[in-house]
């Protein structure tokens, strides 16, 4: 892994340039190709920690090699989880990241042939002190494996979080991913899936909220390498205040992946007057017997819709907040265990107030297994 790009502006931080870079880029003057992040650097020289099996180094990650190198150098022991072949792991693999403590975690999950597993990444922050946390998750899904990944990121406005995921999928592997980026001063989310096997499939559903002066940077890459693979990517979000959001989503239909289909769609609701909303949906196609499509819709609640809601006693702001509430409700409903649920509720409290958040808690929360 190259360390050339890691420069040291200060003794205790490093600047990671060209993070979240998509496979194909465009005009640099648009400043949409990547993000530059400044992160802390802890010297671990001389320490020996548990590292993941070498196999995981071949898994492409969404945020790229620089972030992978930084996380693996900063995290203490990496965590390796193996789900045996033809088994169903009932309890989720939970990756809890305490943003207040600036935790950096490195996880590798091997889901063996025909096995089923759920992986949860829960990032919780409540502090108003600056910190940087990170989670690097690499998954190998063998033939016929079924993997569900739920990521809930609930950092505070003062915090920075890096969320990088890489998944390799063999024949008939099925990957379901739900990402909820609910807040954080700077949140960078990268997701890469390599559908290497025949009929491998990924369904990626991302929902986000960025408000105030928050920055949200997302990079999604799906490589459709195997024959008859399927990729279904859906992103939707709400941008408020002076938030800045960049979304890069790439469907890469690789030569040889005959019969594959990839689809990507983003819907953005802009409710802030000073929002910067950048979107770059890319299809790369090196095969003729494939189908790829993408779409993006960016807009606000229409004046007609607002008028309709106002006629029924809702102010414009209240009407717009309904969309935000729906987003949190969705996150809470789909949080399968305590830590992700808590991350979503804590963030809902900060954004919508404690009363509303507790309404969610009572009204929409699934019954959680306390042992989970």
């Amino acid at each position: 892994m190259s360390t050339e790009s890691i420069q040291t502006p200060m003794a205790d931080t490093v600047t990671l340039g060209r993070v979240n870079q998509p496979p194909a880029q465009t005009w640099n003057r648009l400043h949409v190709n990547d993000i530059t992040l400044t992160v802390p650097k802890i010297s671990r020289k001389g320490d020996v920690y548990f590292a993941l099996p070498q196999l995981f180094s071949k898994v492409e990650t969404g945020m790229g090699e620089k972030v992978t190198a930084w996380v693996t150098s900063q995290a203490a022991d990496a965590r390796y989880v193996e789900v045996p072949a033809h088994t169903v792991r009932e309890e989720p693999v939970v990756i809890a990241v305490d943003a207040d403590k600036g935790e950096v975690v490195d996880t590798g999950v091997m889901v063996r042939e025909g096995a089923t597993a759920t992986i949860v990444v829960a990032v919780t922050g409540t502090s108003d002190k600056p910190s940087t946390s990170a989670s690097l998750l690499r998954v190998i899904a063998e033939s016929g494996a079924h993997v569900s990944v739920i990521e809930v990121i609930g950092a505070t406005d003062a915090q920075q979080h890096l969320e990088s995921v890489g998944i390799h999928a063999d024949d008939d592997a099925r990957i379901d991913v739900r990402q909820y980026a609910l807040g954080g001063g700077t949140v960078a989310v990268g997701f890469a899936a390599d559908l290497a096997g025949r009929r491998a499939r990924v369904d990626l559903n991302t929902r986000y909220l960025a408000s105030g002066h928050e920055t949200l940077d997302i990079n999604h890459v799906v490589r459709q390498r195997g024959r008859d693979t399927r990729a279904q990517i859906s992103e939707s979000g709400v941008l408020d205040g002076s938030a800045k959001k960049s979304l890069r989503a790439t469907i890469d239909l690789i030569h040889g992946g005959r019969g594959s289909k990839g689809s990507e769609a983003e819907t953005v609701l802009v409710i802030g007057d000073n929002v910067v909303n950048k979107t770059m949906p890319v299809i790369l196609c090196d095969e003729d017997d494939v189908a790829g499509n993408h779409g993006a819709t960016i807009g606000s609640v229409s004046p007609e819709q607002i008028a309709y809601l106002e006629d029924r006693g809702l102010s414009r702001r209240e009407a717009e907040q309904l969309f935000v509430r729906a987003l949190f409700e969705d996150a809470i409903i789909h949080s399968p265990e305590k830590r992700s649920h808590e991350a979503a509720v804590r963030r809902a409290e900060a954004v919508l107030g404690a009363d509303v958040a507790h309404d969610f808690d009572e009204g929409v929360s699934p019954v959680l297994d306390e042992e989970a």
Partner: protein, 471 residues
């Protein structure tokens, strides 16, 4: 049939791939030096400000690099083996009979005089670095329309200040490396001025032919459409095929004032040894309209993204384009739209066809500024893959900074379905005819926007590209 693929033979481009001798032509030595730039300027007896601009641009060119993280490779382009100025030994003619025989023969084979007789308000024809023929209908001239070369405008005391005011302001030499090169060595092109309220019933047309081997063409087109005026301008380009690289780095600056309309139609049909690094940009005022119709068929490598800046309120822009990439071609094309005025609208519809190992990249940007209240923009991009050795990429970018704007984008990539081909074959078409029919239908939304003779040319080009044996 599902296992079989259409094998397309080499294209018969004999209509375009004929060459004429350069004997007796004035040809500057290959490469790019201040002396060459000064020689071009001196030959044109330019005002001092233009020479200064050229020399400043030359410095910019040498100081700039191409981006390394996007775009096709131009490694095969070596300016040390390109002559930036080649001129036939002839003066610009206003009468077609005064044009030298071999040049006249070239344009007649391309159908240019015919087009003029049929339905044009004026015609300009550039051969290598210089305009060899320019003419305009008398009734159009009487309306106060100016259609001449930039060089002639610079020598006219009435128009030199206008050229000075506009030239290089919309596409500055600092824009990118090959914009800088353009300003250093530009030669030929058109200056069009349409006075306030004047509507031209017929289009004006310029045709650019690069005959010389190992040469560049750097024409500059400057069009000013005053308030309430209306113009359709057509541009055609072609070149014969050589095994040495040729370069086209033109610039098109379009100023469309309040309430005016400009339609700019282009069929670029360069040969497959051409590096086409062309820059086109329009700025439009309040209540004005810009329409682009663009067909890109030739060239080895293209970087071409016509840009529209909707500066005034209620301006609108339509971009309709098609790109056909075949063997040895890497065409990076698309458009840019910048919506700065309130209630502005833009609509982009593009098609691309890839075959025989050709690479198509649709690249676009839509930028909605903070003050573009209620701006609307839709982008639609459809790509057709005709075999599994070709490539088609779609790389759009959107930057929206207004909460009341609505921006939509959609793109699809696919191939001709076997069912469609089977259906047509069951009605008596051969497989090749069936595929050509589908491709023609795919391209129809673009060809119907073109003037008749250009639509015919485009359909002919598609037919040429599609013809071949089934393997």
């Amino acid at each position: 049939m599902s296992g079989g693929r259409t094998k397309v033979a080499d294209v018969d481009r004999s209509l375009y791939d004929f060459t004429k001798s350069e004997e007796g032509y004035e040809r500057y030595e290959d490469g790019l030096t201040p002396d060459i730039v000064r020689s071009i300027s001196a030959k044109k007896e330019e005002p001092e400000w233009m020479l200064e601009m050229r020399l400043r641009a030359l410095d910019l060119y040498h100081g700039r690099d191409m981006a390394t993280n996007w775009g096709p490779s131009i490694a095969g382009l070596d300016l040390d083996h390109i002559s930036t100025y080649v001129s036939p030994k002839t003066k610009q003619a206003k009468d077609w009979n005064d044009v030298p025989k071999d040049i006249k023969d070239t344009f007649e084979r391309l159908g240019i005089p015919e087009a003029e007789r049929e339905s044009l308000a004026g015609v300009g024809a550039q051969y290598d670095s210089e305009i060899v023929y320019h003419n305009m209908r008398e009734e159009v001239a009487k309306q106060g329309v100016i259609y001449t070369t930039i060089e002639d405008a610079l020598h006219d005391p009435t128009w030199e200040p206008v050229v000075h005011e506009y030239f290089g302001t919309l596409i500055p030499p600092t824009d990118h490396k090959f914009a800088a090169l353009h300003y250093a060595v530009w030669s030929g092109g058109s200056f069009v001025y349409v006075p306030e309220g004047v509507t031209l019933d017929y289009p004006l047309q310029s045709y650019f032919r690069l005959n010389a081997q190992g040469a560049g063409q750097f024409e500059h087109t400057l069009i000013i459409v005053e308030p309430g005026a209306d113009l359709h301008f057509i541009e055609g380009c072609s070149a014969p095929k050589y095994y040495e690289a040729n370069l086209h780095a033109g610039a098109v600056e379009l100023f469309v004032k309040d309430g005016a309309r400009l339609r700019y139609s282009t069929i670029e049909n360069w040969s497959k040894n051409m590096y086409n690094l062309n820059t086109k940009r329009a700025t439009i005022g309040t209540d004005s309209k810009m329409e682009w119709v663009s067909g890109s068929f030739g060239s080895h490598v293209s970087y071409l993204y016509p840009t529209t800046i909707l500066a005034g309120d209620r301006g609108s822009c339509e971009f309709t384009g098609i790109t056909f990439a075949g063997a040895t071609q890497d065409l990076d094309t698309g458009c840019k739209v910048i919506l700065n005025g309130a209630d502005t609208t833009a609509s982009v519809n593009t098609k691309s066809i890839s075959k025989d190992g050709g690479v198509n990249t649709f690249r676009s940007s839509v930028v909605v500024g903070r003050h573009a209240d209620r701006a609307r923009c839709t982008v639609s991009c459809q790509s057709l893959m005709l075999d599994n050795i070709s490539r088609s990429d779609t790389i759009p970018a959107m930057d929206v900074r207004n909460s009341t704007a609505q921006v939509g984008h959609e793109a699809t990539i696919g191939r001709i379905s076997d069912d469609t081909v089977l259906y047509l074959m069951s009605r008596g078409c051969s497989e090749a005819e069936a595929r050509t029919l589908v491709v023609n239908g795919f391209a129809n939304p673009v060809s119907k926007e073109l003037p008749m003779e250009y639509a015919v040319e485009m359909n002919n080009l598609i037919k040429l590209e599609m013809e071949g044996a089934i393997g």
